[in-house]
Symmetry: C2
Subunit: 226 residues, 2 copies
């Protein structure tokens, strides 16, 4: 795999569709395994057999693999998606994944419906407080990018109004205002009884990213940094 961070390889729509059809169901299968790993109550012998089988699969997958992470190889070009991303990554089993879509009428507003299971637990039966912050950091950054002002988190302030139950949730983000390379965004996690966690953050496009965009000359398609 050749790597040119200044100009990630472009792929055709057909290649993108083929790779999505290959990797999306595979990654989803691993997500299901993660859930089953936490919740299973089968006997020790069955666990040990499963462990040996998982190790064998991993060994075969590792026969050819990237040296580092996925984004560091493919970046976030026009065709490439952030498939390694912890929150939205199609190829990342840790990602629920969140799928933000345009919604509402505020600047850059995006919503995502998500169901969080056992893998995202903090207090018994509740979403880990840090998972809410993880999802909100992502959706606020997505809102900034959707408004054409992508950036990396400079600060993020979270207010926890009530416990967030595991299960179906909605995550919403939008741009509050922007000024030069700075964008202030807001958002919240919404549970069955209303908003549970509120977030407010500042996103800034760092100088190294602005220089990268200038070298690439594709400022018209700014990358999503998170």
């Amino acid at each position: 795999m050749s790597v040119n961070p200044d100009r990630p390889a472009e792929i055709t729509p057909e290649e993108l569709a083929a790779q999505t059809a290959l990797y999306a169901p595979f990654t989803q299968a691993v997500r299901e395994l993660v859930d089953a790993t936490i919740r299973t109550t089968v006997d020790p012998a069955t666990i040990r057999t499963a462990q040996a089988e998982v190790e064998a699969i991993t060994a075969r997958l590792r026969e050819e693999q990237l040296e580092g992470s996925l984004g560091a190889h493919f970046g976030h070009g026009r065709a490439r998606q952030p498939w390694g991303n912890t929150v939205v990554g199609l190829r990342n089993p840790v990602a629920p994944p969140l799928r933000p879509v345009p919604a509402g009428d505020r600047e850059g507003e995006v919503h995502a419906e998500v169901v969080l299971g056992a893998a995202y637990e903090g207090p018994p039966g509740l979403v880990h407080g840090g998972v809410s912050s993880l999802l909100l950091d992502q959706i606020l950054g997505t809102a900034a990018a959707a408004a054409g002002k992508p950036g990396m988190t400079a600060y993020l302030n979270l207010t926890y109004r009530r416990p967030t139950p595991l299960g179906p949730l909605r995550v919403e983000g939008w741009v509050d205002r922007s000024e030069g390379h700075k964008t202030w965004a807001r958002g919240h996690v919404v549970g069955p009884d209303g908003p549970t966690v509120e977030a407010e953050g500042l996103f800034v496009l760092p100088r190294w990213a602005r220089e990268l965009l200038a070298r690439r000359g594709d400022a018209e398609a700014p990358p999503a940094f998170e």
Copy 2:
């Protein structure tokens, strides 16, 4: 599995050791599979075979499983650990896992050495900003609990000083001050070039948790809520 949220089942030290010896390596094997799933470049046929095998393992694990999440069944009793927790859970493949240990000389101070790989990526080659907030929410809560003042996050403010590279990191948390059921904690993620993300948060033991502890009568061993 019988469930009594007011009084989670206690297990003997021998049972705890046996379960740790069974589940820790199994969960670690699934963590390795998660990493390989993201980084593999093997051919499509090998991916499809791996998917079918993963689905078969999951089906066997699901033949007997908890109806919901792990913590909701076992809680956080004296012997039981928060094995389902997204950040520290021994049985949760999403957890790196963070292993905070007492360190330093500030109240409740805990440190954790951790290596974050491809599963925790945001911008290319960097830790997702929300992952830093996830780890910090956990370690600040752990510090509060270590100081004998456990609570759930009321607010969490994060300041991102510089990018956090994937790889070896240290996460530190300590108690700043406390007042009744409120505890203010601080912490940071430390990379090769120093602190990258700083956090300050308020942790409060909610009324329902205080009532639960009062019913259980084991206030001398308060549970870790995150």
